[in-house]
Each structure stands twice: as structure tokens, then as C-alpha cells.
Amino acid sequence: MYLQMRQTVTRLLMRMKQSVIRLLNWMNQWNPIDLAGPIVDKELRVAASRKRYYFLRTLYISILTLFLAGVWFSHVGLGPVRAGALRAADMSSAGRMAIITIVSFQFLTLPVLAVVLLSNSVSDEIRQGTLAVLMTTPINSLQIVVGKLFGRLLVLALLLAISFPLLSIVRVFGGVPWTFVLAGVFLTFTTSLLGGSLSLLASVSIRQAYRSTLLVILVLALLFLTVVALHTWTAAGSPPQWLKEMSGLLEFLNPYAIFYGISSTLLPGGGSNPSMPAWFGHCLFIVLVSCGIALLATIRLRKVMLTEAFGGERFGFRRWFRLDRKTFIEHRPLRTVRGECIVWKEMQRIRPRTFAPFFILGGALLIVYSPAAFLMDRFLFTKTFHSWFAGVLVLVGLVRTASLAAGSVASEREGRCWPLLLTTLLDERQIIRGKTAAIFIDTAPLWIWLFVHTIVFIALDVLDPLAIFALLLTIPPGILFFIGLGMYFGTRLKTVTGAVAITFAAPIGMSFLFPLLGFANPIVCAAWSMQLTTENVLSDPFGLVFLGGFAAAPIIVYATLGLVFLWQARCRVRRDVFGLGQADVTGPRG
């Protein structure tokens, strides 16, 4: 009897075990990681083994803590604790500001991080030849795209998750509705998804990660600037009715506008609580757009995989217009080396004279002047427009300068051409001087445009003649600084992307450490140059001092730093030629 019962129980347990295994197997089919194939798994393993992600998380938490501490001390301070209602009011105010700061910080940084993380996702596979290996496996292009996208976005999700308990605790202080926290988290994630998928699409076509990063950041910046421009135009003049009607739709499509809308409700004097349907609808829309971009990336990746496997011609309008560098080189006639050979060679690298610059210049002229001239009444004659124009142009010029400078040495090191150049009779000074000259020649049209624009509007009596003087004093040190910084990191780092990333991160870090330096940066100075008036400056001693300091600070600090970095770059030309690190440090020789 006992034995029979035992057998029955054992049989039942066995059946239950089999049922559980069957259930688990069935559930495993729908495991998102399995759906995306082994790529997600690989990406997660890589992410777990890379020191940079641990560093990123530590840095992220440190910055959040710093922000929190800053907000706390600015609202509550170290003084004696106030009693009763006053204390509660302080806590509530501090809590609200802390949450706005953290959510805003996340919203602005995580999409950029998503862009950076995905910028080399496919291009690295192509460059290392592993894409061809993937083609020999049953993994399809959709699995690659989904795997890469989610594998890397999980790193960001982790960062978002880190901040969530912090937000929940701070929320206890009161004054912040849950919808804001939720909206912030959702908007951050969907904007990161949009940035990530755009970056992935760019990385399918663009081999250099920094180029795809800059391109996608430019797209995101344009989105951001649309909001600012709409608000500026509305405030400065009377835009046409259709533009006013369109602005509502543009704001709904624009994550930055939605975020601005919901965060302004929490600020003193803000409106009512954010409406759930607006941001939720926007998030759904962005997810759909991101899915579309991912699908486009899948189709494009498939074409690239086939081209990689079987060779053949490039496709699309890029080939037709010869915007594609490779096609252009194949079809252009032979060129003769003229002038300094290193300048000539650099110019072939950075500007292969395709038709692309004409498109870019034409587009830029159209974007800048047509809305200002036709849409807005006399907007071309306001100093606000010229401030924006100068600021944006200097920003674009310096970004181009910095990325070219960082890439000029690093690209040769990455492409293993550096030893070939160093075994010629060119010395360190010639190499650095030639590369600097080439960068300046490449960016010269932007600076010429800015100066011609300023001179024309000075002649039209819109701008003050002091503007040209101020620009001349502020822009050259900025150029020198970024060329020096880029070259220096180019000689230190093995990859172009690394050099470009540090060249951009270093001034941002510097601005945090020395806020005055951040304030007196060439972009702000150029924008302020347009607001100057002779009367104010000459009549007011403070104005004269301000102009002197305003011009002298960038000149002294940026020019000195630029020269120091250029000198260091020159000293490092022959050091660590093969990127072996500290073990292979040699000095420059004659």
C-alpha cells in the first residue's frame, strides 16, 4: 500500500516536472533575448566585460549626487533648521528642483549617450570584417539590428533604473506629481530610442563612429533648435498664421518641446499639470518612428551585407550625385601635388571635392536667410537674429575644427599610415603645421561667411563696427584651442572616435571645473559680439572693462592652452608610434 502510494506520488511529481519544463520551454520561445538572436547576448557579455561601462555608471551616479547636493545646499543650506511650515516649504522646493534637475539632466544626456553607444555598432563589424562572418550564420539582418539596438540600450536602461529610487525618495519631499517623473522617464527612454536607432542607421552607412555621432547629434540639435527658433520668432515678431498653426504640430512631434512643456509647469509661475495624453501620445509616436528607422536600418544593412559579400557598385542617390567618397575618387582625374605636400594630402582626406559642400552651403544659405528674410517681418534687422547666427556658425565651425584636428593624426594611426609618414623627411613641425593649415583652409569658408555677413550688416547699420573687432579677438583663439586640443588627443589615442570624443568632452569638463572659462567660450563671445554698441561701450567705463575682459579672457586662456596643446602634440608625434602604450614611449628626433 505504502509502496503504491509512493509510486503514484513519484509519477505525479514526474508529470508535474515535465509540465513545468514544457511550460518553461514554451515561455522561452518568447524570450526577447532569444527573439533577437545571439547578438543581444553577445552585446550584453561585451558590455559586462568593458571597464568603460563601469566607469560610465560611476560617473553618472557621481554627477547625479553632485546635482542633488548642489540643489539641496542652494535651497536648504547648512544653516540652522527652520521650523514647521517654513522647513516643509524648503523641503518641497528643494525636492521639486532636485527632480527637475535630475530628470532634465537625464533627458539631455541619455539620448546623446545612446547616439554615442550605437555610433559604431555596425561600422565596427564592417571594418573588422565580422559582418561577413555573421552572414555565414543563420542570423538575419533584423536580428542584428534589434540585437545591437536593445543590447546597447539596456546599458542606458540601467542608468535610468539607477536614478529611479533616487527620484522616488526625493519625491517624498513633496511638490512633484508622479506624472512628471513618469513623463520624464518615458520621454528620456523614447528619445534615447530615437537617437539610438538614428545612430544605428547612420553607422550602417558611415564607417567612422564620430561622423555618425556628429550627424545624429546635429539632427537632434535641429529638433531642439526648432523649438527655440519657434519661440524666438513668436516673441520677436509676428509670424504668418500657417506657421503659428504648424507650431502646435511641430511641438507635438518634438520631444524637446514636450519636455519643455511638462517641466515648465513645475517651475514657479508655470501652468497646470502636464496632460497625460500629450506626452504619452508623443512617446507612442516616437516609438513608432524608431521602429520605422530600425526597419530602414535593417533594409540598408542587408544591402550593405550583400555589397560586402559580393562587391559591386554603390547604390542610391549618393552614387548618382557622386556624394559617395569612393565613387568620387574612382571617377575623378589624377591630381598633382601642389604646395606643401602634407597640406595637399590633408585636403584630399578632409575635402575630396565632391559635390557635397555645394549642397551643404546652398542649404545653409537657404536655412539661414530665407525664414529671416521672408517669414519674419524685419527679423534680419534684429540683433537677436545676428546673435543666434554668429553663435550657431561659430559652434559649427569649432565642432568641424575640433573633429578634423582630432582625426588628422588619429586617422593615420588608426589606418596604420602613421609610420609611413614618419619615415619620410617630413619633420614634426612640418607635419603639425601642415595639418593645422589644412584644417584652417577647410573651415575658412565658414569664417569668411561670418565676417562677410557681419561687414554687410555693419554697412547696413544693423550691427556695431565693434562686432568685427570682437569677433576677430574671440574666434582665432577658439580655433587655436580646438586645433591644439584635437591634435594632442589625436597623438595620444589609437582611434579617431576616442580622440574626437575626448576633444569634445575635455572643454565640457573644463567648463564644469572653471565656470568662468565655460562662460567666456568663443561661441558665447561671438553671440555677444553682435549685441555690442559703440555708445554703451565707450560711454560706460564698465562697458569698456567688460569688452576688454570679454575679449582678453578667451585670447589669453584659450590661445595659451591651444599653443600648449599644439606644442605637446608636436612633442608626441614620434612617441608611441605603434600605439603600444606606455611601454613604447620614444622622444622626437631630428
Binding site: 595637399w344 596604420r416 609610420p419 609618414l421 619615415t423 619620410t424 623627411l425 613604447d584
Partner: protein
């Protein structure tokens, strides 16, 4: 032409090169052999002024590589093991750029570039994009680049690696042509049989130390390896065995796969004695195959295959 004295290079605690003493005469082709990580590339990089030695000195044409870098670079053409190319340039432009970088006058550049293109048989590719060339063509382009300033010394780090047999033969012929032009060539390769055919001298390096340097004859002498001959006769093989065993210059005779493997006594070189003796004894000689010391065998015997 090339000389190193106690040349050493350390990467941290790792000794890549230890007290290397090397001497290569003008017009020689010197084969530099060693397993991966033995220190060949490090030596070549030091000679090409791309690395600073930790200790010791190196001279090219009597010039110290660490002190007179620019003068040394004028005399040296260095081709690295993995050559990068400027993918924005075409073949002619690439060579013209390097000609300009070596301060060759503008009016002379075209003729010089055409000359090296002809020498390396790349005329048909002059207008091709550099990165569209095959591996073999890129190696040729590398050689063309190295020759552009007519250097006295060529330092070639594995120029034939990754090439198909046809391209290898073509590179070998090109090196012979360069030797005829009086260039001093230092070449490293993993394909030892190739070096054997073109090198006057070889240096075998392992674990950063030179384990042998000299001619092929000197290797054989140093290693005490006797010359061998494989003989095949028609008819009475036993008789042939007896005849050969009785010769004073023969140390040992033994049957081997239908042949007779004959080992010469120490101090005797391969000559016509065996053939003459066998014919005089009335035996028909079908085959006589001298078995020289192969560089592969010497390499295996001289090195232990230790890699850093």
C-alpha cells in the same frame, strides 16, 4: 651598411631585443628569421627610426639611427609588415605625395614615379584608387613607395606575407632586380624557402637574441651537418650499395624508399665522385638528388619555438 651594437629594447619588463649584434654589408640581401614575437619587427622599427632602443646603438651607412634620424631616413626605405594606405588617393598621387615628402623636386617627380611604377609593374594601375588594389598589388605599391627616394637600404618586414604563389614569385624577382641595382636589403619572412633562394646571409633570432648569423654554408658548418645525396640506380642496388660504401668520402649508405641515401664524411662536399664511380662500375644511374641543408630544418634546429 647596417650595424647594430648590443641593441636592446624592453617593453616594460618584457625584453623584445637583447644585445643584438648584427652586421650587414653593402649590396647584401639579409634574411631575418625568427618565430612570432622573436624581435624581428622591433629591430626593423629601430633601424627605420620609428622606435628608440632602450640600450645599444644602431648604424645605417655609418649614421647613428637615434641621433641623425633625418639623414638615416634619407637612406632607408622601410616597408612595415602591415601597410596602411591613404584611401583618398590614387596610385600615382600616393607615390607623388611620398616623392614630395622626400623633398624630390616637382619637375623630377613625374619621371621618378613613372620609373618605380614600371619597375614594380604597376603602370596599368596608376589611376586606380589605392584602396581598390588587391593585397598583392598593395604590396607592390608598398615596394614602389619604398623605392621612390632611391634609398641605399631597404628594410622589408614580411613583404610576401598573405600573397598568392604567383605574387610571391614576382616579389622575389623584384628583390633580385633590386639587388642587381646595388641595394642593401634586410628582409624578414615566415616563408623560409623564399629567403633561402635570394639571401646571401641569414640571421636567426629567438626570444630577442640572435642565435645565428652567417651564410648558409656557415650554418651547415656550425651545426655539423654533413652533405647528403639520394641516388637511384637501375638494376643491382646491392652492388651499388657495396661500391658506394667502399668510397673513403662516404660516411654512410642506407636504403630509403627505393633510393640509396648517401651521407658524406666530414670535410667532403658534394661532387661528381658518386656518379663517376657508379658508371665506372657498370651501373646505370637514374637519379642523383643532392639534399642541401634546408633553411626550415636549420630554423627548427636552431630555435625552440619559444614565443613571448
Amino acid at each position: 651598411m647596417i650595424e647594430t651594437q648590443k641593441l636592446s629594447k624592453y617593453y616594460g619588463n618584457l625584453a623584445a631585443l637583447v644585445d643584438l649584434d648584427l652586421k650587414i654589408d653593402q649590396g647584401d640581401i639579409f634574411g631575418f628569421i625568427g618565430p612570432n614575437g622573436a624581435g624581428k619587427t622591433t629591430t626593423m622599427r629601430i633601424l627605420a627610426t620609428l622606435l628608440e632602443p632602450t640600450r645599444g646603438r644602431a648604424f645605417i651607412d655609418g649614421l647613428d639611427v637615434t641621433r641623425t634620424g633625418k639623414e638615416v631616413r634619407r637612406r632607408v626605405g622601410y616597408m612595415p609588415d602591415f601597410m596602411g594606405v591613404y584611401d583618398d588617393l590614387k596610385v600615382f598621387e600616393y607615390l607623388e605625395f611620398f616623392a614630395a615628402a622626400f623633398n624630390i623636386e616637382r619637375k623630377k617627380r613625374k619621371a621618378i614615379v613613372e620609373g618605380v611604377l614600371e619597375l614594380t609593374d604597376l603602370q596599368s594601375k596608376r589611376a586606380a584608387a589605392v584602396d581598390s588594389l588587391s593585397r598583392g598589388m598593395q604590396q607592390r605599391l608598398g615596394l614602389a613607395r619604398v623605392l621612390i627616394h632611391d634609398p641605399k637600404v631597404l628594410i622589408l618586414d614580411e613583404p610576401a606575407s598573405g600573397l598568392d604563389p604567383r605574387a610571391r614569385i614576382e616579389i622575389r624577382e623584384l628583390l633580385r632586380e633590386l639587388k642587381r641595382m646595388g641595394k642593401t636589403i634586410m628582409i624578414s619572412s615566415h616563408i623560409l624557402s623564399e629567403l633561402e633562394e635570394i639571401c646571401d646571409h641569414v640571421g636567426i633570432i629567438e626570444h630577442g637574441k640572435l642565435v645565428f648569423s652567417g651564410t648558409m654554408e656557415e650554418i651547415r658548418r656550425q651545426m655539423g651537418i654533413q652533405s647528403k645525396m639520394r641516388v637511384r640506380v637501375a638494376g643491382d642496388r646491392d652492388r651499388a650499395f657495396e661500391v658506394l660504401s667502399s668510397l673513403p668520402q662516404i660516411k654512410e649508405v642506407r636504403p630509403e624508399d627505393g633510393y640509396l641515401a648517401v651521407t658524406y664524411a666530414e670535410g667532403y662536399e658534394i661532387d661528381g665522385t658518386i656518379a663517376r664511380t657508379l658508371v665506372q662500375a657498370g651501373l646505370d644511374v637514374i637519379a642523383l638528388e643532392p639534399e642541401q641543408l634546408k633553411l626550415d630544418n636549420a630554423f627548427l634546429q636552431l630555435t625552440k619555438g619559444i614565443v613571448h
